[in-house]
């Protein structure tokens, strides 16, 4: 598991204090700057407000769970971070690159696994990966090498030539994660990646992503509505009806909310909102 000092420090900062400071050493700079910084982001679909004043950060080498029920605003937030939607209010940056002003630099450092399946079912696993690599300007030779390496890591090297249609749901998700890592991003966004999978496939994928955090120092934002995917040492952002109810280390959020575990803490937080809208 990655170390969370940076995350804890940044989370304690005020939103306005999250602007990255330029350091002389680029490597040092990368360690200090949040992998993802979201500052006062709001979004509306016409009169309907989907997100209201969301601010949090994801540190490099950390696992941040974005917890919320269906309709909480998780997918809208993902669409804003990945620039599918334009930002109406607030600021989003990836390793200090503003998504609106420097989209190429920001997108280059980010890998995404969307909630709906985005693989081309009629193409083979490898063809899907090569296509993604081409979209990042990675040539065929290098893309083939990386594809094989990543497929070996997820135990699907022998399925490179199979049509995606013939894979199981869990295998498709693993391929999508491999695809998201092809261009070697430093931030990985996953929008409810385990929905519809069986218990084993869920555990495999979760384990694989946690390994990426620990071994490769990738910052992960994992959107979910499943409490059992979150452990005490994770960072947690609780989203409910477009509002952020809590953020911080899971153990801290649980303690502050007065629950015994994430589930009870979440229930308390959302009930508190229903009664009077008090936020921790």
């Amino acid at each position: 598991m990655g170390h969370h000092d940076v995350a804890a420090m940044t989370m304690a900062d005020s939103p306005g204090g999250m602007q990255p400071q330029l350091a002389a050493n680029p490597r040092q700079m990368l360690a200090d700057i949040p992998a993802l910084s979201i500052v006062s982001v709001s979004h509306s679909y016409g009169p309907r407000r989907a997100l209201a004043g969301i601010s949090f950060t994801v540190a490099p080498a950390s696992f941040t769970a974005l917890l919320g029920l269906n309709g909480a605003g998780k997918s809208t937030l993902f669409s804003l971070v990945t620039r599918l939607f334009g930002i109406q209010t607030g600021q989003i940056s990836i390793f200090g690159h503003d998504i609106g002003r420097e989209p190429s630099e920001a997108l280059r450092l980010m890998g995404v696994v969307f909630q709906p399946r985005t693989l081309d079912l009629d193409l083979s696993v490898k063809q899907n990966l090569l296509y993604h690599a081409a979209l990042h300007g990675i040539g065929r030779g290098e893309a083939s090498r990386r594809s094989l390496e990543l497929l070996s890591r997820i135990g699907l090297a022998d399925r490179a030539g199979s049509k995606v249609r013939d894979l199981s749901g869990g295998q498709m998700r693993r391929v999508e994660i491999a695809r998201a890592l092809l261009h070697r991003p430093r931030l990985l966004l996953l929008d409810e990646p385990t929905v519809g999978l069986d218990v084993k496939a869920r555990a495999d994928i979760l384990g694989h992503v946690r390994q990426l955090v620990a071994e490769q120092g990738i910052g992960v934002l994992w959107a979910t509505h499943l409490f059992d995917e979150i452990v005490a040492s994770d960072d947690l952002v609780v989203l409910h009806q477009g509002k952020m109810l809590a953020r911080g280390r899971v153990s801290d959020v649980v303690a502050t909310a007065g629950g015994q575990d994430v589930h009870s803490a979440f229930m308390r937080l959302t009930q508190a909102t229903g009664l009077g809208g008090s936020e921790p």
């Binding site: 680029p26 605003g73 990945t82």
Partner: protein, 282 residues
């Protein structure tokens, strides 16, 4: 923690990276096309039905006088061949946009749009890929038409290529512009009725405009203002090694306008975000 040097990379993209991206998009479009054989067959059958049945039936009804670029009297089949070539591209352009709506619904469009390569270039590459597919269809049609005595000069097969590229881009860009405004696949049937049929029939594809003018001066002006008419005429002249400058200007201008419109429509800060999330997600 593993440190990284990703941020040390110079900004921007090299020429090679742009080319890799373009070839990747064209390659995928080609693979998809090969996987959809029925699409290829229906793309061919449609103009052939017009050629074999409609043109044969109308041969006696419509007399064609000698009009440029033709230098002799021609059969009606010969007259409508360029119109049918443009029709293939019109359908292909709209079908590509259909695939974009489908892609967006299925999520594949997201894969394209989260690429760090500038979005205008991604969309332009997508247009080029669609045009390349339409070229395959048009040349397959020309091959079959040759056996039906539609024999333009051999050099015409070469000179028509740039015209087809330009008209393919124009119709693809129009389709892309329309696709940006469609939320769901179901709405596409309406586009067929309100875009494809009016464009095709109110053009010089099936009848020379001087004959239209005799029948209805009003319709004549509508046909003149229809960009599809100019795509047809550009192709018709190019097929005989000639250039119709007015059509070239109109098609080039419309291509630019439609393309800019499509790029703006897919700009997250303008069009894409206003429609809300796909599939009712939040």
């Amino acid at each position: 923690m593993t440190t990284t040097t990703m941020n040390d990379r110079p900004r921007g993209f090299t020429f090679g990276e742009y080319i890799t991206c373009l070839t990747g998009i064209v390659w995928r479009e080609g693979l998809r096309f090969l996987h959809q054989r029925e699409r290829f067959i229906s793309a061919l059958v449609r103009p052939l039905v017009w050629l074999f049945i409609f043109a044969a039936g109308f041969r006696q009804v419509l007399g064609i006088s000698i009009i440029p670029p033709y230098e002799t009297y021609i059969l009606y089949e010969v007259y409508i061949a360029p119109g049918l070539m443009a029709m293939i591209q019109l359908f292909n352009g709209m079908q590509s946009s259909l695939s974009m709506v489908y892609d967006r619904e299925m999520g594949n469009m997201r894969t394209l749009l989260v690429s760090p390569i500038p979005r205008w270039y991604l969309l332009f590459s997508k247009l080029l890929a669609g045009t390349a597919v339409s070229l395959l269809q048009v040349y397959a049609f020309l091959l079959i038409a040759w056996f039906w005595d539609i024999e333009p000069p051999p050099i015409g097969y070469l000179t028509v290529l740039p015209a087809l590229v330009l008209s393919g881009l124009m119709l693809g860009a129009l389709g892309m512009l329309i696709s940006s405004g469609i939320k769901q696949l179901e709405n596409f049937a309406g586009v067929m009725n309100f875009v494809i049929f009016p464009m095709f029939f109110a053009s010089s594809a099936l009848y020379p405009l001087w004959r239209v003018q005799e029948g209805s001066p009003m319709l004549y002006y509508v046909c003149q203002a229809n960009p599809f008419t100019h795509a047809v005429e550009l192709i018709r002249f190019a097929l005989y090694g000639k250039i119709n400058w007015i059509s070239l200007g109109v098609v080039a201008g419309c291509t630019a306008v439609f393309m800019i419109g499509a790029i703006l429509a897919y700009d997250p800060s303008r069009g894409f975000s206003r429609r809300g999330p796909a599939g009712g997600e939040t």
